[in-house]
C-alpha cells in the first residue's frame, strides 16, 4: 500500500505542474534600430523553408546583406511540413532563431517581436496593403512581421494543345467558357482529362470564391454561403463524374496534399488550376508551350491569395539585428530583386502598382499580378483566419466524401458550413 502511495506521489509530482515555459523579453537590450556597430560580426540565425526557386534568390540577397553590413546570416532550411513544428520546439526550448520565414504568423503571435521600435524607416509600417497585413498586425497595432511574398491561384494552360485543337484562349472567361474550351481541347487532342487541380482546400477555395463565398468574411466570422458553395461543388462533382477531372487523383492520397503538376507536365490535361509559384518550375521543366491564363469568373472574378511572412522572435539572441535584416529584405529595392529572381509576386503596395520586371515569363507573372487587383477582400481575410487551415482540410474531406458518392454537393456544402461554424467557436472559446 505504501509502495503504491509513493508511486502515486511521484506521478503527481511529475504531472502536477503545468507544462510550458515562461517567456522572456528581447535578449539584446533596449528596443531601437540597429546601428552599423550592432550588425558587424553578428551571426543572425534565419530559419527558412523553400518552395524551390526562392532559395537561391534568398541566398543571393543574404550574401549582399552580409557584404553591406558585415553581419553573418546562417540560413537553416527546413522542410515546409516541419517548419511550424521546428519553430515551436525551438521556442519551447527557449532558443528560437532570430528570423523565420513562416506561412502564418498567428501560431507565433505571442512570441513575435513588435518590430516598430526597431525600424529605421517607419514607412515599412504602412508599406503593405491592409488585406495582406491581416496577420501581421497585433491587437494594439504591433507589427508582428511582414508579408514577404504573395501567391495567387490561377489556371495554367498548355498552349500547344489549345493551338492543336484550334481553341482560342480569351482575355477573360467564365467558368462555363473555361470548361467548354478545356473539353473541346480534350476531345480534339485525346488527353485523358480536360482539367486538373492540386488536391488542396486552398486551391478549391478559389472556385468557392469565384462562386461568391469564402469560409470567413472580412469581420473574421463564418461566412460560407451554402447555396453558392453548393453551386461550386456541383460543378466540381460533375467535372469528376464525367471524367473531365481525375477522380482517382482526389481519392487516392487520403488526407495528404497532392500536386497535379505531373498530370500537366505529362500533357494529360490542357488546363491546370494551381498558382503563380509554378511559373519558375514550369519554365525550366515543361517540354511544351504554356502560359498563365486569367482566373475564370462566376458570380465574381479574381483568384485566391496565399503567401508567406517573415518575423523576428522576442527571445531571439539578436532581435535588433534580425529586425534590421527583415527590414533590409523588404525594402522596395530588395523585394523587387527577390521577386524578379524567384518569380514571385511582391507584397509591397508600391511594387504591386509599379509591377516588377521579370527577366523571363514576365507576361505570365503579369496575368497573376492583374488578378491581385481583381481578387475580393474577403479572400484575404478568409486566408488570414487562424481557422482557415482546418477549414481547408474540412473542405478536402467533404469533397472526397462527395466524390466517393457518400454525399451530395448540397450535403457537402451544409456539412462544410457546420464544420466552419464549429472551427470558429473552438478558436474563440
Amino acid at each position: 500500500m505504501r509502495r503504491w502511495g509513493t508511486a502515486a506521489a511521484v506521478a503527481l509530482m511529475v504531472v502536477g505542474c503545468a507544462p510550458g515555459i515562461r517567456s522572456a523579453g528581447p535578449a539584446d537590450g533596449d528596443a531601437r534600430p540597429a546601428t552599423a556597430g550592432d550588425l558587424r560580426g553578428v551571426q543572425i540565425d534565419y530559419t527558412y523553408f523553400t518552395d524551390g526557386p526562392d532559395e537561391q534568390a534568398t541566398r543571393d540577397q543574404l550574401a549582399k546583406f552580409e557584404t553591406e553590413t558585415g553581419a553573418k546570416v546562417k540560413l537553416r532550411v527546413v522542410a515546409f511540413a516541419d517548419n511550424e513544428r521546428t519553430l515551436q520546439a525551438q521556442l519551447s526550448a527557449g532558443d528560437p532563431p532570430d528570423v523565420a520565414r513562416v506561412l502564418n504568423i498567428y501560431p507565433f503571435a505571442d512570441a513575435a517581436l513588435d518590430l516598430r521600435p526597431y525600424l529605421h524607416d517607419q514607412g515599412m509600417n504602412s508599406a503593405f496593403s491592409d488585406a495582406m497585413m491581416a496577420q501581421a498586425r497585433g491587437p494594439q497595432g504591433e507589427l508582428l512581421g511582414v508579408p514577404s511574398d504573395l501567391t495567387m491561384n490561377g489556371p495554367l494552360i498548355n498552349r500547344d494543345l489549345f493551338d492543336r485543337a484550334g481553341v482560342p484562349v480569351p482575355d477573360r472567361w467564365t467558368w462555363p467558357e473555361l470548361v467548354t474550351a478545356a473539353r473541346q481541347v480534350q476531345a480534339a487532342t485525346g488527353t485523358p482529362y480536360a482539367l486538373a487541380m492540386d488536391k488542396s482546400g486552398h486551391r478549391l477555395s478559389t472556385m468557392l470564391s469565384q462562386y461568391g463565398t469564402t469560409f470567413f468574411g472580412t469581420d473574421g466570422k463564418p461566412a460560407l454561403d451554402i447555396g453558392r458553395a453548393t453551386r461550386a461543388l456541383a460543378l466540381f462533382a460533375e467535372l469528376h463524374d464525367t471524367g473531365a477531372m481525375p477522380k482517382d487523383f482526389w481519392l487516392e492520397s487520403g488526407s495528404r496534399y497532392k500536386g497535379a503538376n505531373e498530370i500537366f507536365l505529362s500533357q494529360a490535361t490542357p488546363v491546370y488550376l494551381s498558382g503563380n509559384w509554378q511559373v519558375s518550375q514550369l519554365a525550366k521543366t515543361a517540354p511544351f508551350r504554356w502560359s498563365a491564363a486569367p482566373d475564370p469568373c462566376a458570380e465574381r472574378c479574381g483568384g485566391f491569395p496565399g503567401g508567406k511572412h517573415t518575423m523576428v522572435f522576442k527571445e531571439a539572441r539578436h532581435p535588433r539585428a534580425g529586425a534590421a535584416l527583415l527590414e533590409w529584405l523588404n525594402t522596395a529595392e530588395h523585394q523587387r530583386e527577390f521577386a524578379a529572381q524567384a518569380m514571385y509576386l511582391p507584397t509591397r503596395k508600391d511594387l504591386t502598382e509599379q509591377g516588377v520586371d521579370y527577366p523571363r515569363r514576365g507576361s505570365d507573372m503579369r496575368v497573376f499580378l492583374d488578378e491581385v487587383e481583381r481578387t475580393p477582400p474577403d479572400t484575404y481575410a478568409s486566408n488570414a483566419s487562424p481557422s482557415f487551415s482546418r477549414g481547408a482540410e474540412a473542405l478536402v474531406d467533404e469533397v472526397s466524401r462527395m466524390l466517393a458518392g457518400q454525399k451530395s454537393p448540397a450535403g457537402a456544402a451544409k456539412s462544410l458550413r457546420d464544420r466552419v461554424d464549429r472551427l470558429y467557436r473552438e478558436a474563440n472559446r
Binding site: 513544428r85 505571442d110 487516392e252 488526407s255
Partner: protein
Amino acid sequence: MRRRNLAPYLFLAPNLVLFAVFVLYPALNGVNISLYDSTNGRTFRFVGTRNYRELVGTDAFREAITNTAVFVACFVVLATVVAVGLAALLQRGLPGSGFYRAVFFVPVLLSPIVVGLVWSWLLERRGGLVNTALGAVGLPEPGWLIDPSLTMGVSVFVAVWLHVGLYTLIVLAALRAIDPRTLEAATMDGASARQRFWHVTLPQIQPSVLVVVIVSTVDGFKTFDLLYTLTGGGPVGATTLLLQYVYEQAFKPPIRYGLAAAGSVVLFLVILAVTVVQFVVARRRELL
C-alpha cells in the same frame, strides 16, 4: 548483506534511469498534457477532461477507433494464419525452401514508407501494375485505393506482406524444435497429416503462436507510416487509424497537443487492455 542487496539495483540503475527519463516521464507528462489545451507547445490552459469529451464527440475519432479495431483484428488473424501456413510449408523441406524463406523475410528489412509507396504505385487504378495485369487478361480493374470497401482489405494485405516473414521465422523455429518422434508415433498410430498438425504439431508450437499474436497485435496498433504512404488514411477516412489521427492533431497545423495527448492515452489504454487479456488467456492455458 546490505551491499549484496544493492548490487542488482546498481546494475539495473543505468537502464532504469534511461527508462525513467525517456519513457516514464514522457508517458506521465503525456497524461498531464491531455488535461490541457495548447496550440503551440508553449502556453497551456488547463481544461480538465474536455479533450477526452471532445474526442468522444468527434466523428473522425470514432471512425479511427473503428478502423483500428477492424485493421488490428484482421491483421492479427491473417498474419498468424499465414505465418503458420508458410512455416509448415517451409518445414516440409520442399525444393527451394531456403530461397523462399529469404524471399518471405526480405520485406521485413524494408522501410514501411518504401513499401507503402511502392504498393501505392502498384495498386493505382489507372496504370498500376496490378490493374494492368488484370486488364491484360480481361479481368475488371478495381479501384483498390479509391473504393472504401476495398481499401481496408488491401491495407491489411500489404501489412501482412510486410510483417509475415518475421512471424514465419518465429513459428518455423518452434516447428524445428518439435521432437520428430512424436510425429512418427502419431503416424504409426494411424493419424492423418491433418490430425498430426492439429493434435500434435499445433499444441507444441502454441507458445510461439502466442508470441506471434502478441507481436502482431502491437505491430497492428503501431501501424502508421505504412498506411500513411499507401492510402493517406483514405479514401474518405476509410483507413485512418488512431495513430494517424493522433499524429494529425499533434503535428499538422494548427497544432492541438492536448487533444493528441488524450488520443495517445486512449490508444495506450486500448493496447494495455488487449495485452492484459492476451496474457491472462495465456496464463490460464499455461503458455507463458
